[in-house]
């Protein structure tokens, strides 16, 4: 049961769900939530391959950097969302039509 295809299947489901959230939702915070799902699926793929294929620690380090980048991305993205809400009083993605207000 614990084999590479089962991990790949779970990772694939996470990726598809993240893509679905990014396309279907209209709230900017919800889109950032979908990005978190996609980054998690990528990190899970790295760890699964490094365990079942070459059995060293390179995938673990790659996943660690993915987690770091996800945290940085969430901080900057949510700051942009809050600034956008101060300017436009909306978090709808269709209201974001100008770079400069």
């Amino acid at each position: 049961m614990i084999s590479l295809p089962s991990y790949l299947f779970i990772s694939f489901l996470l990726f598809v769900a993240g893509m679905f959230v990014m396309i279907a939702r209209k709230n900017i915070v919800a889109i950032l939530l979908g990005i978190e799902l996609i980054l998690n699926s990528a990190a899970l793929n790295f760890v699964a391959y490094t365990k079942f294929v070459n059995n060293n620690l390179d995938g673990h380090i790659m996943s660690l950097f993915i987690i770091v980048i996800a945290a940085a991305e969430a901080a900057v993205g949510l700051a942009i969302v809050i600034r956008f809400y101060q300017l436009r009083e909306s978090v709808h993605i269709d209201d974001a039509t100008q770079l400069q207000s």
């Binding site: 991990y7 769900a17 959230v21 209209k26 709230n27 660690l64 009083e89 909306s90």
Partner: protein, 177 residues
């Protein structure tokens, strides 16, 4: 046996909470379900022998990212429906039926393409059992690898985090007139 049970529980939690994130109507609930998904992924890391990574996942995501998202949702008006200042009524958390149809069709196409591209990987690794070396702790090895082989990436990521924090503080600050 214990690993099998843990794997089943984690996989069920991950898949179920992911479906809940996609399907729920309330953005606050979606954030809570995302927390469940992240815990499930941490359990999957634990079954695969990545103990340090599982702990990091829980600390960084549950302690940092999800709290940050909850703060952002609450600062931008919560999950209730709002009218923007142009008077057009908009539902903030969900798209319309049209966006769901478009998203379903495009995700289906992407899924078919990805499955087609990775079909030979699935067949080639079908009988690749777990390399049963036992799950010893990986903390020591990860620490020494980070400070010897991957020292440049380590330092660059620290600079990236500093830049991200300073940038977030500058961007989110209200403009003084």
């Amino acid at each position: 046996m214990f690993e099998q049970i843990l794997f089943l529980l984690s996989a069920t939690a991950t898949i179920g909470f992911t479906v809940a994130v996609v399907g729920t109507n309330n953005l606050m609930h979606a954030c809570m379900y995302l927390l469940g998904t992240l815990f499930g992924v941490a359990g999957l890391y634990a079954t695969i022998g990545a103990d340090f990574l599982a702990a990091t996942q829980i600390v960084v995501y549950a302690g940092g990212v999800v709290i940050l998202m909850l703060f952002a949702i609450m600062l931008t008006g919560g999950a209730e429906d709002k009218k923007n200042r142009f008077g057009i009524e908009k539902i903030p958390s969900m798209g319309s039926t049209k966006t769901y149809i478009v998203a379903g069709a495009s995700v289906l196409i992407i899924a078919m393409i990805v499955l087609k591209m990775t079909a030979n990987i699935h067949t080639a690794n079908k009988d690749l059992a777990v390399a049963s070396t036992g799950n010893e702790s990986t903390v020591f090895n990860i620490g020494s690898l980070l400070l010897t082989d991957h020292i440049l990436a380590f330092e660059i990521s620290s600079i990236l985090l500093l830049g991200a924090l300073v940038g977030a503080a500058i961007i989110a600050r209200p403009k003084r007139n």
